[in-house]
């Protein structure tokens, strides 16, 4: 593997890690407030469908993004209503959201576009296009010189290669998602709201005693989770791919949950965990069977590695992952 090849794999890792990262941060906000959310997958799927559908109808990807966030927030609201207001089981509500989204997206898309539950292909202003940063080698240079982009990058200096291949050429949402990491950290650890949010996941009775509404805080957290899931879904259908396809999240919401446990419910760890999982996926995509010496690691093993790593973490080998103490329990005010 030469340097450029490594960069290409890392570039692919970043693209694949972004939906995981956004969903992982979404889960982080929700679970830190004490609401377990296995409905990340469903919310992403709903957002992916709405974002692609509205972008296809209006031709404007920003309206699509808003519609995606809206759809995800509605689903998050249902989860909030069931698990906070009616104190239902959070896991069951999450599963219900997943089923609801899996079925509803296809039905709505079929009704609107009659293309078998997919949306029309998006192009131009109806999708997020890669941004070419200044001084980076991109498609425009390739068009000018009439040569292939790969050749141009291969001839450039290593620093230019890193800049052009890895840093430049992503869609806006990728940079936004990366910015969301320090932002989430700042909100959670440096603001009064963040302190209360974390407290409500650890000891809601203490927050309540201090005269702060547990219900409202938890709802805010769940809505924040919806917004981030909405961006993740819109990224899948309007940036990574141009259009919605049935079940296009393909389990990414569950991998994000695994990443959340792996990250021990912390934003910076979430970034490294999702980048690691993205890297594993990129390796699977690029190399079918990885050869280590004389031994060939089968592709199935690489596919399963994120889950294996999570189990190892949970077994306590790499460190202890302690979930928020009040997670999963509906809060009942003492009379």
């Amino acid at each position: 593997m030469d340097f450029l090849e490594l960069l290409q794999v890392l570039d692919s890792s970043l693209r694949l890690a972004i939906p995981l990262l956004l969903a992982c941060l979404a889960g982080l906000f929700s679970e830190r407030a004490g609401i377990f959310d296995i409905g990340l997958e469903g919310k992403m799927l709903g957002a992916a469908m709405m974002a692609a559908a509205i972008a296809a109808i209006t031709g404007n990807v920003w309206l699509g993004l808003l519609a995606g966030i809206f759809a995800s927030v509605v689903l998050a609201g249902i989860h909030g209503l069931a698990s906070i207001t009616f104190r239902g089981d959070q896991l069951i509500s999450g599963v219900a959201i997943n089923f609801l989204a899996a079925g509803l997206t296809v039905v709505v898309a079929q009704d609107w576009f009659a293309q078998g539950g997919r949306t029309p292909s998006l192009d131009g202003a109806a999708r997020f296009n890669p941004i070419e940063l200044p001084f980076a080698i991109g498609p425009s240079d390739a068009a000018e010189t009439g040569r292939r982009l790969n050749e141009l990058i291969a001839e450039a200096s290593p620093i230019q290669q890193v800049y052009s291949e890895l840093i430049s050429g992503h869609t806006l949402l990728v940079y936004l998602a990366l910015l969301a990491v320090p932002l989430s950290w700042w909100v959670l650890y440096r603001t009064r709201f963040g302190l209360r949010l974390r407290a409500v996941g650890e000891a809601p009775e203490a927050v309540d005693t201090a005269g702060i509404s547990v219900i409202r805080l938890r709802f805010v957290a769940v809505i924040l989770c919806g917004v981030l899931c909405g961006i993740a879904g819109a990224y899948l259908s309007t940036a990574l791919l141009g259009g919605f396809v049935k079940d296009m999240t393909a389990g990414r919401g569950f991998i994000a949950l695994a990443a959340l446990i792996f990250a021990k419910w912390r934003p910076w760890y979430a970034l490294s965990a999702t980048l690691l999982f993205g890297f594993l996926q990129a390796v699977v995509v690029r190399y079918q069977n990885v050869e280590v010496g004389n031994f060939t690691v089968p592709v199935q093993f690489m596919d399963a590695l994120p889950y294996i790593l999570t189990v190892v973490i949970l077994a306590g080998f790499v460190g202890k992952a302690v979930p928020p103490r009040a997670g999963g329990q509906p809060y009942v005010k003492e009379r």
Binding site: G117, S121, R148, L241, K246, M248, V299
Partner: protein, 334 residues
């Protein structure tokens, strides 16, 4: 209890005979989904053509999980559907098991293989390696970089069979060509993961591929899109996919699943069963798609080379090695 059983049995028998009177054909789509723009959609188009022409109706179901296979087969057989047509290799085993219980129902399976074919089952297969050989030739002729790509769906012998024909065709034109081949996954989910398909296409592009052949059902949509975005050529599969990205899709390897389904429905109860039907280039069961969307991409030289190879394959002068022959490909290691 015995009385009850008899009653129920009579009722069931009545239901079956009542159904058999107006036997509708049934079509079961595999996990890629009815509208995968590829394999299953071709089957649907064939059935729809039959329905439009005859005014008949057909029963259909789209599978959503592995566990539904046998259930769907039994449901249709009990409803009196005849023939029951299934798409996808994974149906062969359940069809073989269920067929014995419904001797009066005829079962058709496309792409499947069974060591012993029951008397009421017909297995239809296609010589995909021959069609893939032709598109492989075209890919090698269109490639400027000397590298062509192949994206398979689920890693099964059938898909390797596609890839092997493709690699042979490409090497026949240019013996030094590099063929990069990747599979999307090892589970049926690999038929419907366009995001991963697109990412594989991008990885192949960065390895220098400038023509990519997708034999991956719904996943192929992502491959074709990534190729169009990256301004390189792609090759569609099963259905004619040239129209998806006009001017960017070099051609499509047609697998006339639609014709197979149409003919089976047309034959109805009288459909021939108890063996294998093999459709190749000679029967026009496979071929390359030429239409106004790719006219500008296909040179006369390509056309004549493809026509010549097709004639040679039909005449038996040129043998494309099937992957099944000894479970390996002579020109490419998967």
């Amino acid at each position: 209890m015995t009385m009850m059983k008899t009653l129920l049995g009579t009722a069931a028998a009545l239901a079956v005979t009542a159904g058999a009177g107006l036997a509708e054909p049934a079509l079961i789509f595999d996990l890629g989904g009815k509208f995968d723009k590829s394999f299953n959609e071709a089957a649907f188009n064939g059935a729809q053509k039959w329905a439009d022409e005859t005014g008949g109706t057909f029963l259909e179901i789209e599978l959503t999980s592995e566990a539904q296979r046998e259930q769907a087969l039994r449901r249709f057989a009990e409803a009196g559907a005849n023939p029951v047509i299934t798409t996808g290799f994974a149906f062969a085993t359940p069809v073989g098991e269920v067929a014995a219980d419904y001797p009066d129902t005829k079962f058709i399976n496309i792409d499947g293989w069974l060591p012993e074919v029951p008397a009421n089952v017909q297995l239809i297969s296609f010589q995909e390696h021959e069609g893939s050989y032709l598109v492989g030739m075209m890919a090698a002729m269109a490639s400027e970089s000397g590298t062509v790509g192949f994206v398979g769906g689920m890693d099964i012998p059938l898909i390797r069979h596609f890839g092997c024909g493709y690699a042979q065709g490409a090497k026949a034109v240019n013996p030094d060509i590099t063929v990069v081949a990747n599979m999307t996954g090892t589970t049926p989910a690999a038929w419907n993961d366009p995001v991963k398909g697109g990412e594989i296409a991008k990885a192949q592009m960065s390895q220098g591929a400038d023509v990519i052949y997708a034999a991956a059902g719904g996943t192929g949509v992502g491959v074709l899109e990534a190729a169009a975005d990256g301004d390189i050529l792609s090759i569609g599969v099963d259905s004619n996919q040239n129209h998806l990205y006009p001017g960017k899709v070099l051609t499509s390897m047609l697998k006339r699943v639609d014709v197979a389904v149409y003919n089976s429905m047309k034959a109805g109860d009288a459909v021939e069963t108890g063996g294998f039907t093999v459709l190749g280039l000679a029967e026009e069961g496979v071929g390359v798609a030429m239409d106004e969307n790719n006219a500008a991409l296909v040179s006369d030289e390509m056309k004549s080379a493809v026509d010549e190879a097709r004639d040679k394959i039909i005449a038996g002068d040129l043998e494309v090695v099937a992957y099944y022959a000894n479970d390996s490909c002579p020109v490419h290691e998967f």
